[in-house]
């Protein structure tokens, strides 16, 4: 645990500190043969993925390839038709009620558009997991919220602003502050740089790397922004037609010898990946 983020109630991180490249250990997230369909449209078709302790894995793929669906299945927001998702060895598919809430206490999530609660000021957004999820007092939770806002480069005055008053970059920062507020063991990032200018995207990526490193957390991100993926990933996996078609260390993605990966990372229109007009 980094001194940068003091532990808060509910932090169950044990003796096994993340190694930074924990792929050889028992994976913290283990997905096997995952299927998910919406009506007749099959989105995931037997997806396999491991995320090791302390590892930062980024799933890349085109729009509509099932990246967000994968994340929502892991979070328990969607129920897959078949397959297994284990978090620290515990099966989460089919889990509900208090058991699912207990698993979710390990998670921190940065949503694509931050998903801040409009009806609450910024500091209450950041402290939400502490006050509602853990029953912490408002005074103590506010102090932690201001601390987390500082960690993402925001002044304490921002805490009293409303989400509607924030710019896109500030919303992402606040979303990140909320995601790290409970010192989660596992963090999820859904398109963290989408909608931001390149400089702000770089700033957010740097904050993600810093926060994940200081927390010693495991991270699973999804993006189609290759620059972002290269900055935040230890390992990259490419999702295509509902399956992981390539996975490997970030440094090796340029030498994958996989025509699908090559086409995607170079952003070429020509290649084996054909974009449907309605995709």
């Amino acid at each position: 645990m980094s001194p940068g983020f003091p532990a808060v109630a509910g932090d169950t991180r044990g003796a096994a500190e993340p190694t930074g490249h924990g792929a050889r250990q028992t994976p913290r997230i283990r997905i096997r043969d995952l299927y998910k369909a919406f009506g007749v449209k099959e989105v995931l078709r037997g997806l396999d993925l491991d995320v090791g302790a302390g590892e930062s894995v980024v799933v890349i793929g085109g729009s509509g390839s099932g990246k967000s669906v994968t994340l929502k299945c892991v979070l328990g927001l969607l129920q897959p038709e078949a397959g297994s998702i284990q978090v620290d060895g515990e099966e989460v598919v089919g889990l509900g009620g208090d058991s699912l809430e207990q698993v979710r206490r390990k998670f921190g999530m940065l949503f694509q558009n931050a998903a801040l609660f409009d009806s609450l000021p910024v500091w209450e957004n950041v402290a939400f997991g502490l006050t509602q999820g853990q029953g912490m007092g408002r005074r103590e939770a506010r102090a932690i919220a201001i601390d987390r806002l500082a960690a993402v480069g925001l002044e304490p005055e921002v805490g009293d602003m409303w989400p509607a008053e924030l710019s896109g970059g500030m919303r992402k920062r606040v979303g990140l502050a909320r995601a790290i507020a409970t010192s989660p063991e596992i963090m999820f990032f859904d398109e963290p740089t989408t909608g931001l200018d390149p400089i702000m995207g770089d700033v957010i990526d740097a904050l993600i790397v810093k926060c994940v490193h200081e927390l010693g957390a495991t991270a699973l991100s999804i993006t189609h922004d290759m620059a972002s993926a290269r900055r935040i990933a230890d390992r990259i996996a490419m999702l295509y037609e509902g399956k992981i078609i390539w996975a490997g260390p970030t440094a090796e993605i340029d030498h994958s010898n996989n025509p699908y990966v090559d086409q995607f990372i170079h952003g070429r229109a020509e290649g084996p990946i054909t974009m449907m007009a309605n995709a």
């Binding site: 809430e101 206490r105 949503f111 801040l116 409009d118 997991g129 999820g133 909320r178």
Partner: protein
């Protein structure tokens, strides 16, 4: 038979919706009774439903009472039964018009606002965010609204009853020339506890239905701004229809012989 297919499809869709709504209502009700409770949110919803609906419900009630007295007079004058006006006003207002009109006004104001707010939260992933922050949306969003609706609608209706009767009194005294003390005496003598109680029971049921419809349609809204718009419309329409249909059932329960 091709003609039977759309009928069957519509029927199945209706059954599916009823089942989904029943499940939503059962889960929501169970969360109203189990901790953790959110007193701050409950208080906020009570103020939103009870206090901010007061002007529109009060205006509706006073004009309804006034029109009721005036119409009753023009009708009853044909049979020289003008003295029955206080009785008609008190029974009509407490049994029917108070709860039904207040319920419809709240459905338009509060049900629509709830559907829009929760629907926006759904399409902007705020409800997903609640889940990931280990907070049950039913407990945090739905239960306080249902409880506030169930408790505040009877108070609103009680207020509407008083204002409505006062509306009838104003017209009867200042326009129709009734004796004030006699009008009040007749009203008081004719009023029965069951009239008021049945109205308050109706109000509580209407409060549940209006907030349930607002939450249900908002929670299940899809597809951005258009989806939120549809959720709002559906919440008001279904809430209003349920008020009118359940009104008959409750009336049957209390007064059928």
């Amino acid at each position: 038979m091709p003609i039977l297919q759309p009928i069957g499809r519509t029927f199945l869709a209706f059954i599916e919706t009823v089942g989904r709504l029943s499940l939503f209502a059962a889960i929501s009700t169970s969360h109203c009774m189990r901790p953790p409770f959110y007193p701050r949110l409950l208080l906020r919803q009570m103020v939103e439903i009870g206090y901010y609906s007061l002007p529109v419900v009060g205006l509706t009630a006073i004009f309804t009472g006034m029109v009721l007295a005036l119409q009753s007079y023009t009708g009853f004058a044909r049979f020289s039964a003008e003295s029955a006006i206080p009785n008609v006003v008190i029974v009509s207002i407490t049994r029917e018009l108070g709860p039904v009109l207040a319920g419809l006004m709240v459905a338009g104001r509060v049900g629509a606002a709830m559907a829009a707010e929760i629907g926006t939260m759904r399409v902007t992933e705020q409800i997903d965010a609640l889940d990931t922050l280990a907070t049950n949306p039913f407990k945090y969003l739905v239960a306080p609204r249902l409880l506030a609706g169930i408790t505040m609608l009877p108070l609103l209706v009680l207020t509407a009853d008083i204002i409505g009767v006062f509306g009838g009194y104003i017209v009867s005294i200042f326009k129709l020339g009734f004796n004030p003390s006699l009008y009040i005496k007749n009203t008081w003598d004719f009023m029965e506890a069951i009239d008021v109680i049945s109205g308050l029971v109706k109000a509580s049921v209407f409060g549940f239905l209006v907030t349930l419809m607002g939450c249900y349609h908002g929670y299940n809204s899809r597809g951005g701004a258009q989806g939120v718009g549809s959720a709002t419309t559906n919440a008001v329409v279904s809430g209003s229809v349920l008020i009118l249909s359940s009104n008959y059932l409750i009336t049957e329960l209390f007064f059928a012989r």
